[in-house]
């Protein structure tokens, strides 16, 4: 079974998730989910707040340890891998964080060049050229000497994408690319993701709750709710879906949060107990 899985990985899927469970303390966030990401496709992971979509993303890039299950990235199961092998995989993936996560004490150029300076033995002049190139790709040419604090929200995200692209990754992850941006700037970021996809045929995984953006950039979508996959399919399949939970999310049907007050209280007290315990 396992051999068959790795075989199929080499032919179609870049990432395969199998029966993935993740816990924070006692509470299980992801309840055994599985899906594949094909090479060169853009997969959008949709879900509401607290659905577990961010946890899924953090687990995929190795920031959270799964409780059980497998995550195959480029033929290796990162759920059971040595730290040094994980580092090798991390050099082939790029991640753009929600707030950019640029290092405030470095210029934009130093931020973008950091992975190159850390992991390659390139000449300083080559690094200089590469960082200009990366900044140009995200539309930030000429900004290498700016500090992150001098950039606007959208520019920070672009700079973060440039840094994620520095090592020419095969897989690119985005956490909420349009969060906190006005619609025009957010559309610009969507455009950037589309350009990257067309130009480099990268595998791109985007976590978002923005429907408009999801429809625009996705080849396929995964809808997550309460730690389970509700639906998975192409954009058209999702649009045509009649599943109540999918319709509710896609049609933005309000759900009274107060109705779940007891659940919410329980969640809070569990949190408290976990922290003090």
């Amino acid at each position: 079974m396992e051999a068959a899985l790795t075989d199929s990985l080499e032919t179609t899927a870049t990432i395969s998730v199998r029966d993935l469970r993740v816990n924070y303390g006692e509470r299980e966030i992801l309840h055994g989910i599985g899906f594949d990401v094909n090479r060169g496709e853009t997969l959008v992971i949709l879900g509401g707040s607290g659905s577990g979509k961010s946890t899924l993303l953090r687990t995929l890039v190795g920031l959270e340890k799964p409780t059980s299950g497998q995550i195959w990235i480029k033929g290796q199961n990162i759920a059971a891998i040595s730290p040094s092998a994980m580092d090798e995989i991390r050099k082939k993936i790029g991640m753009s964080f929600q707030g950019g996560a640029l290092f405030g004490s470095m210029t934009v150029g130093e931020n973008v060049a950091l992975p190159l300076r850390e992991h390659t033995r390139l000449e300083e002049s080559t690094i200089e050229i590469m960082l200009r190139l990366k900044l140009e790709q995200v539309g930030l040419q000429g900004f290498e000497y700016y500090m992150p604090s001098q950039l606007s929200g959208g520019m920070k995200k672009r700079a973060a994408v440039a840094r994620a692209l520095a090592m020419d990754p095969e897989i690119l992850f985005f956490d909420e690319p349009s969060a906190g941006l006005d619609p025009i700037i957010a559309a610009g970021i969507d455009q950037l993701i589309l350009e990257l996809k067309q130009a480099f045929r990268m595998t791109i995984i985007v976590v978002t709750h923005e429907l408009a953006s999801a429809y625009l950039i996705a080849d396929r979508m995964v809808l997550i709710d309460k730690g389970n996959i509700v639906a998975i399919g192409t954009t058209e399949e999702m649009r045509a879906s009649t599943q109540p939970r999918v319709r509710q999310f896609l049609d933005r049907v309000a759900e009274p949060e107060v109705a779940r007050e007891l659940d919410y209280l329980q969640m809070l007290t569990e949190d408290r107990r976990r922290r003090s315990g």
Partner: protein, 265 residues
């Protein structure tokens, strides 16, 4: 029973805390002494800029404080000594208590306030803004990148600052000596130097290295264990200061006791 289990619980927590400090220190030691020979060089530039921040920029405030402390010590000592007509021992009292105990301790406390808190705030903020996560996804170890240069800077700078603090303390004492105790400045200084054994200074410096390592470990650990949200950074910073002061006093006690029993033989 309830009481006993609570005591046991806090002892366990304390040991766990010391354990995580030691583990962080151990990883930093690995990146300082082992990793450079495996092709992962020390971030020398970052260590130097940290050292400037921790050391050089602390000099004005440290000088002022230790000068006053020296003066206070002289006054306090003279208060008793003059009753026995032994006021000329003021120089000895100040020199010994500064270099053995107060020099290292006051330096550590100034550094906790300036740098221990800053470490926790800096790393805590980076935790909240996902910069620590970003380092990890770029396959860069935060301990190698951020923490190790701080350890190196502190372990080198604290002894330097302590020597400076001892000197300023003795100078502070000399102000009283010259003004009130019929010393000339040179005689006061030579009386101070005569009273000091190398052992007094060296034990103080050994302690100061340990203080530096302790303050860095606590500051960085508190920063790294910051939860989500900006207010958590404030909490980490406060905890870093309180825990550092406590840990420094604890380390002080352990080493002072160690030196005491070692000198018996």
């Amino acid at each position: 029973m309830e009481f006993l289990s609570q005591v046991g619980g806090s002892v366990t927590n304390g040991l766990v805390y010391v354990g995580s400090l030691a583990s962080l220190g151990g990883r930093a030691a690995y990146y300082t002494f082992v990793a450079p020979f495996q092709g992962k060089p020390i971030r020398f530039q970052r260590a130097v800029s940290q050292a400037l921040d921790v050391g050089v920029r602390a000099l004005p405030i440290l000088s002022l404080i230790t000068f006053f402390i020296g003066l206070i010590l002289a006054l306090q000592a003279a208060y008793e000594l003059r009753r026995f007509g032994a006021i000329s021992y003021v120089a000895t009292a100040v020199a010994i208590s500064m270099s053995r105990e107060l020099g290292p301790l006051i330096t550590a406390i100034v550094v906790i306030g300036r740098s221990g808190s800053a470490f926790a705030a800096e790393i805590g903020t980076m935790k909240v803004t996902e910069e620590i996560d970003a380092l990890e996804t770029m396959a860069i170890s935060p301990v190698h990148f951020l923490v190790t240069p701080k350890f190196i800077a502190m372990a080198v700078m604290l002894p330097c600052l302590t020597i400076w603090a001892n000197t300023m303390g003795i100078l502070g004492g000399s102000l009283f000596g010259v003004a009130q105790a019929d010393f000339t400045f040179t005689r006061y200084i030579s009386a101070s130097l005569d009273s000091l054994f190398l052992r007094d200074i060296v034990t103080g410096l050994i302690k100061s290295v340990m203080f530096g390592i302790t303050i860095t470990a606590v500051g960085c650990l508190e920063g790294l264990s910051t939860g989500a949200g900006a207010e958590q950074v404030g909490r980490s910073t406060t905890r870093a200061v309180v825990m550092s002061i406590f840990m420094v006093v604890l380390v002080d006690l352990v080493f002072t006791a160690l030196f005491f029993f070692m000198s018996e033989h």
